[in-house]
Symmetry: C2
Subunit: 374 residues, 2 copies
Amino acid sequence: MVGGGQLARMTYQAAIPLGVTLRVLSERADDGAALVSADVEIGSHTDLEALRRFAAGCDVVTFDHELAPPELLEKLAGEGHVLRPSPAAMRFAQDKLWQREQFGALGLPVPAHAVVATAEDVAAFATDHGGWPVVIKAARGGYDGRGVWVARSPEDAARVVAEGSAGGLRLFAEAMVELEREVAVLIARRPGGESVVYPVVETVQADGMCRELVSPAPIDPSVAAHARNIAERIADGIGVTGIMAVELFVAKGGDVLVNEIATRPHNSGHHTIEGCVTSQFENHVRAVLDWPLGSTAPAAPAVVTVNVVGGASGGDPRANLPRALAVPGVHVHLYGKGPRPGRKLGHVTALGEDVSEVRERADRAAAILVGEPA
Amino acid sequence: MVGGGQLARMTYQAAIPLGVTLRVLSERADDGAALVSADVEIGSHTDLEALRRFAAGCDVVTFDHELAPPELLEKLAGEGHVLRPSPAAMRFAQDKLWQREQFGALGLPVPAHAVVATAEDVAAFATDHGGWPVVIKAARGGYDGRGVWVARSPEDAARVVAEGSAGGLRLFAEAMVELEREVAVLIARRPGGESVVYPVVETVQADGMCRELVSPAPIDPSVAAHARNIAERIADGIGVTGIMAVELFVAKGGDVLVNEIATRPHNSGHHTIEGCVTSQFENHVRAVLDWPLGSTAPAAPAVVTVNVVGGASGGDPRANLPRALAVPGVHVHLYGKGPRPGRKLGHVTALGEDVSEVRERADRAAAILVGEPA
């Protein structure tokens, strides 16, 4: 697995019972996965020689992130290494504009959007699509709220475009969706096309970052079926292998629109570790090795995962862990990182019959971990 | 953790989300836990210098087996290393005769037993305790049926005593219990005495080795309560820290007798990984670090674990894994070992509503793994 973050760390954990050695290419020896893996290569995903050395020891190369340059991935694939997902499938996660354009062409529901190069382009888009605010996104490089701006006026738009152009970013404008809620669908797909879809999960966002997962999402069954169908169409459409996460907007009125996808295990699937029969991490390993996929059935009527995000007070979850473990029946996952405001340090999952009761426990443990009131 | 077998391997897996680095002292680099741990020291548990080097890097030293010589453990403890469980508690698991004598003195129900040095001693024991057969056990060194013999006649007894004496074993005779079934109780206990007890599990044995776990055990609730109470009395009586497994005989008529204990994670608790809210491995880590213990509540009405034991045909679970994963909803755990007849290579757990349906799936997957008919 290229990348040594928490996704690789949790994939490593899932690979142990399968008897699979998960080799990790990690930039730093103290990255989350590098701390736990018995087979670590230190090197950068932007260094072709490091990627080659790494891939030489792997049956299959897969990814903890989509940051490796496409041209290097093409090179590796051309040299005979088995990359799952393929560089062509990864491109959809690497380039949001490409994703929007292709999904539109596939007939999938996406927000109205247009490439913008100037503030005037944004203003024209606003005029054509219900006025301000307008969302401006960078085609590449964004995550956790980075690379996304909300322009509330022509002046906002001018500032974003100037900054983006200075940074060499390709930008596009997007109609702001009046949200009922955001949801995600995870799907695991084998090279031959066999796939399993997880129940739709609600992703509660704050400051552009997912803070909480609620499974099943409290949405109408027909909306859930539609969301799952969209995920299946995308998975087949781009020919993904492994886990793919589709983040979706549920608009007021019930319309479902594709926000973006990730072609790897994803933060919106952490509840699956205890909350489904087979975790996203195990199914990712099974899918990229072309093994039969595991059941995605829920393990309890209500599952809530709360992300543990570094707070202003700098509380360290590693120090607060024993107190958090006193909360009944919570599953704490720490990623081996030091605290920093806004940094994802871990997550807490709780299961039960009643979503309010379950959420209360997960919230409480997560708050204790960062030393802040729930 | 001293010892690099599958118990350390599964403890390593459980330690990852807690952010705990499980350092492993392993005899061989290809032992199950040595294959997956990022922090391995190769060395023997019978070598004081290796134990010292290992312990120097640990906050707490715990164990995957009870084979380290008591005098070395005493030495480490005397030098200030924190051993959990303590050498005094470990002695009960290391010496079956000591265990029998002390448990009898504590008023716990144990089979009738007596030290034997000659065939005549065994014959006298038979005369006093209902005749033949008589069980003969070695005080030390037995597991998975080793160190246990069934003498059906004075001639059998003479042979066992001669062999045992030649091998320098201390032997004792024990009345053969007419069994209804065998069960086990796992308990996790912190240094201060706080403990949590798991539901009683049935352990189905063949050839002296546990082949299958069924949780909850199909026994009368009063018998289960009695078994759990015995486990709590033993845990407090010997002052164990960490997981302790108590293997019990349920005699025809409902009497419960202590067979033996292990002061570490145990094969009779593998179903707890998916089958209980908190696994025995996670609770072992939490207990030895003196952290609050996790819920032992069952995750489903019926949980069955089937051990994957190497068969005569030499089928390799690593090769058969993909086919086994096609069985719906099974959790396969491989220990990273090559196949050998009678060797524990892994286990399979299934959860559900109905024990027959659950057992059928677990059995089927386990049989596929060793390439034999279920």
